[in-house]
């Protein structure tokens, strides 16, 4: 074990997988200078595996999907979630459908991982602040992961590289320098498994990515008031760990879904629907979503209105308690 930043942990995953698999390659627009410099260590260890691409998001995504179809696992670094729609066809239509089309015909499937930075909070404005997971979660054939902690980032990314399906990995812009103890060597955190990061009995906070850290802050404040919040980090959105979500809410009877998405059409809404359909009898209060506003995201001081804070989560919890 050693303490590692989130960025270094992800780079470690890629470096170790490249050590192991001579066919694993990466393409991205600015690996040496780009968003979060996430993969720098891996690039220094395996410079020949890193293709620096032109500013051609459509072709870059297609490159990854096409190479994957031909047996090469490929990491496509799209830099920003906001740029992914430039390659929407390649992701939602070409990559997502291909295993279904092959129907077992292709022994190496379609092993492509798209990585992009997402999230609000560094004043980057309307074209650099999106959270788009809901779009990708909606498409059958894609898997979606959003690790909140460095140890999960390394293990999940390794699992994503090995999965054989197209996987989208969103990394929040505020997580790059966060640290925790990370195991040495290769390991996998399986896709589709949520983790309880704080146990509690009074309310379940269901979240993913950076907002999980804010949930933990809120839970600490709530504990001082005698309210014990359980914090469930989904880690993977698709496939969703439905059992973990339902079990926790059956236990506590109250659910707040905390996500940095715009409320309308959010994946938080999907989880609300799941709870209404499956655990209605256990609910002591309606499910509440703590999300961000349904407008484009302004920069500078106004952006503060969009950031998820412990206060907003606590307000949401109070609603479930009838306050």
């Amino acid at each position: 074990m050693s303490e590692m930043t989130y960025s270094k942990a992800m780079a470690d995953s890629v470096k170790l997988e490249m050590d192991k698999n001579p066919d694993l390659t990466y393409i991205g627009e600015d690996p040496a200078g780009g968003a979060m410099l996430v993969f720098m260590d891996a690039m220094m260890a395996h410079p020949d595996r890193f293709a620096v691409s032109t500013i051609t998001e459509t072709a870059n995504a297609g490159y990854g999907v096409g190479a994957a179809m031909c047996g090469l696992p490929t990491i496509v670094d799209m830099m920003y979630a906001d740029l992914m729609p430039c390659a929407m066809d390649e992701i939602y239509n070409q990559a997502a459908n291909q295993n279904y089309i092959y129907n077992g015909q292709n022994p190496t499937h379609c092993p492509v991982v798209f990585r992009a930075m997402s999230g609000i909070g560094t004043g980057e404005g309307l074209h650099h602040s999106h959270n788009l997971e809901a779009w990708f979660c909606h498409i059958p054939g894609l898997k979606v992961i959003e690790p909140a902690f460095p140890d999960d980032a390394k293990g999940l990314f390794t699992a994503a590289i090995r999965d054989g399906s197209p996987v989208i990995c969103f990394t929040h812009r505020k997580l790059g320098t966060t640290k925790c103890e990370v195991p040495e060597g290769e390991y996998v955190v399986p896709l589709g498994k949520a983790r309880i990061v704080r146990e509690g009995k009074d309310v379940t906070l269901i979240s993913w990515s950076y907002p999980v850290l804010i949930c933990l802050q809120a839970a600490a404040e709530l504990a001082e008031k005698g309210i014990e919040a359980e914090v469930l980090d989904l880690r993977t959105l698709v496939p969703l760990d439905r059992e973990a979500v339902m079990d926790s809410v059956r236990k506590t009877g109250r659910a707040v879904i905390v996500s940095e998405e715009h409320k309308t059409g959010s994946f938080a809404g999907e989880i609300s629907a799941l709870l209404a359909e499956e655990v209605f009898g256990s609910l002591k209060a309606p499910v509440v979503r703590c999300t961000t506003l349904d407008t484009p995201v302004p920069f500078a001081a106004l952006e503060d209105e969009y950031v998820i804070t412990p206060e907003k989560i606590i307000q949401a919890v109070k609603k479930t308690l009838g306050d």
Binding site: D23, T25, A51, S53, T54, T56, T58, A59, N60, A61, G62, Y63, G64, V65, G66, A67, A68, M69, C70, G71, L72, T74, A87, D89, E90, N93, Q94, N97, Q98, N99, Y100, I101, Y102, N103, G104, Q105, N106, H109, C110, P111, P140, G141, K143, D163, G164, S165
Partner: protein, 320 residues
């Protein structure tokens, strides 16, 4: 690269197989045996045969919605192609995807596409995979004159030219895109002239002459396989049928089909083979008859194959 007598005869066999298959597909569609839509390749056979004859094992092909001819020219089993078009369980893809999405990974047909211009970005990855594996292979992307206008094709050629990837962009210019005329949709006389913008070679050839297509592909393939990068080959041809079967000839002018009938690739090639003493009329007739039998058998195979059971609907959404 000059063709042997045997190779030329093989080309003819492939041309008539595609022709007979396309005619049968039309017949079956009009007899309500085929669900959805089909996009016929009738009249364009020489492009598929010319290109695929120049490929070697391990080459990767990415095609479009009108790709049945490519599948057959690559050697895909006509039974299984027909069954897939019919939506039957024994089809190449289990009967779940149909004519626009045929694949046969073992034969090099990596992907077919319902999105016009969709093959280009994928083919860049295929070309990269070929380069990485260092076995001298290349990738082919097929697009039409319509598809060539998409940004996907531009970006693919940017990446392939900058990275010197082993890619050949084959533009099947059949002069009509949907119901629109090529001349109205392109500001230049040819599409191949765009190659200069990427610093790569681009040629325009007679797409109804399989040997002309073959020659052009061989040259581009040598360039690609030796690490010099991509090329554009524009093949001028004409689709004798509609954009889809049932289309009443949108965009075509009166008499155009008849004019192009005189340049029918099979008619011209059979005349060439006879004149060059590569085959006799009787031998060509025998090849025609053999192709007709293969296609009849394909129809019967597809007829006899059952529809897939509902239980397979959720299979293979993911790799695991």
């Amino acid at each position: 690269m000059s063709l042997s007598k045997e190779q030329k005869r093989k080309m003819y066999k492939s041309l008539v197989l595609v022709r007979k298959f396309e005619e049968k597909m039309r017949e079956c569609f009009l007899a309500n045996k085929i669900p959805g839509f089909v996009h016929p390749y009738l009249g364009e056979e020489a492009v598929a045969v010319g290109v695929c004859s120049a490929l070697i094992e391990g080459d990767k092909v990415f095609t479009h919605h009108r790709g049945t001819g490519h599948a057959l020219a690559l050697g895909c089993d006509p039974n299984r192609v027909m069954a897939e078009i019919f939506g039957k369980k024994d089809g190449l893809n289990g009967g779940r995807v149909g004519q626009m999405h045929l694949t046969d990974v073992a034969k090099g047909l990596v992907a077919s596409n319902g999105i016009v211009g969709g093959a280009a970005p994928l083919s860049v990855g295929g070309a990269f995979a070929c380069k990485h594996k260092k076995q001298g292979n290349l990738a082919i992307a097929f697009c039409g004159d319509g598809g060539s206008n998409r940004g996907t094709v531009h970006e693919a050629l940017v990446v392939a030219s900058v990275k010197k990837l082993p890619l050949i962009m084959v533009v099947e210019n059949n002069l009509i895109q949907g119901a629109n005329r090529f001349a109205d949709m392109c500001n230049t006389e040819t599409i191949a002239c765009r190659a200069a913008g990427y610093g790569i070679p681009g040629v325009t050839v007679d797409g109804n002459d399989p040997e002309a297509v073959y020659e052009a592909v061989c040259q581009a393939a040598e360039r690609a396989r030796s690490g010099e990068g991509p090329s554009i080959i524009e093949c001028l041809t004409w689709r004798m049928d509609g954009h889809y079967i049932g289309d009443t000839g949108f965009g075509k002018l009166p008499g155009e089909n008849e004019e192009w009938q005189k340049k029918d690739p099979i008619k011209l090639y059979s005349e060439k083979l006879i004149a060059g003493k590569i085959a006799t009329q009787a031998e060509l007739d025998a090849m025609d008859a053999e192709a007709a039998e293969v296609v009849e058998a394909a129809e019967a195979f597809a007829d006899n194959s059952p529809f897939p059971d509902k239980s397979v609907i959720t299979n293979n959404v993911y790799a695991c």
